[in-house]
């Protein structure tokens, strides 16, 4: 397997700049996404492996662009649709509906 075959998440050992040390207090929505994953995990619907699979299969640009919990959100929504827990396309549709109410 050549270096270029590695997934976008497989970055151990890569060169990189200084570790950014600023820490932010989690926003309510970030805590909510963390909690949704945990509760779904307890119910056997969203293991840590599935969470990672969803994150590792997203386009590399998204992986780099999205924040940590944005990646989680995308992965959980994708997985729930793929596994038929929620209807296909329902996540994007609901986001659009709620956006229209802002």
């Amino acid at each position: 397997m050549s270096e270029t075959d590695r997934g976008h998440h497989d970055i151990g050992g890569d060169p990189a700049g200084p570790v950014p040390r600023a820490e932010h207090a989690l926003a309510p929505w970030e805590k909510e996404v963390d909690a949704i994953r945990y509760v779904l995990g307890q119910k056997g619907l969203m293991s840590a492996d599935k969470l990672r699979l969803g994150i590792e299969q997203m386009p590399a640009e998204d992986y780099r662009r999205l924040s940590y919990y944005e990646r989680w959100l995308a992965s959980i929504a994708w997985t729930m649709e793929k596994d038929g827990v929620i209807p296909p396309g329902s996540f994007a549709a609901r986001v659009a509906e709620l956006e229209a109410k802002r």
């Binding site: 970055i11 151990g12 570790v19 963390d34 909690a35 949704i36 492996d49 996540f91």
Partner: protein, 206 residues
Amino acid sequence: MPHDGPHHHHDHAPDDPSFASRSAIGARALRELLEEAGVLAPGEVARQVERMDTITPALGAQVVARAWVDPAFKARLLADGSAAVREFGVEMGATPLHVVENTDTIHNMIVCTLCSCYPKPLLGIPPDWYKSFEYRSRAVREPRVVLAEFGVRLSDSMAVRVHDSTADLRYLVLPRRPAGTDGWDEARLAEIVSRDCMIGTALPNA
């Protein structure tokens, strides 16, 4: 609604945090859909958020302090971390806890190169830097340089062991009890054990 204009339908409180950003809306959308699917009960997510808020590195610090004063507990902790922390009411669940001990010749540090695996039931949610691409990339390649950035300078004779966490195994560093702490009780000892001490990017100071 008193002033429902053509472009805005204010059927939520103006300061409702679930409308604060596109991401917040995404989280709300997902929760609503899962509740409608009958997978999540109303209030279930909020209760987990509250529970998670109670888990802070202070919990891990209590475990470390106990290990410092109680050799039998320390032996149990190193032999089977998950079972030992259960004595503190901490349930690791499906991901066993492996505790690695700093000695006068070995310094341990933890990373998750692939994602962000972390002993959350013991330390809470990991800090931003732990999840950063930079830490994940460099911790395994140049740990001493990274440690120096965190202010931890080790002698050349100190071996550094970097532990790459996985979805199936979580690590916790048991730091060395600093000199000058003889006679301290557990509560006082726990106060000098920071989160970063238990990740291995800081050392406790008396």
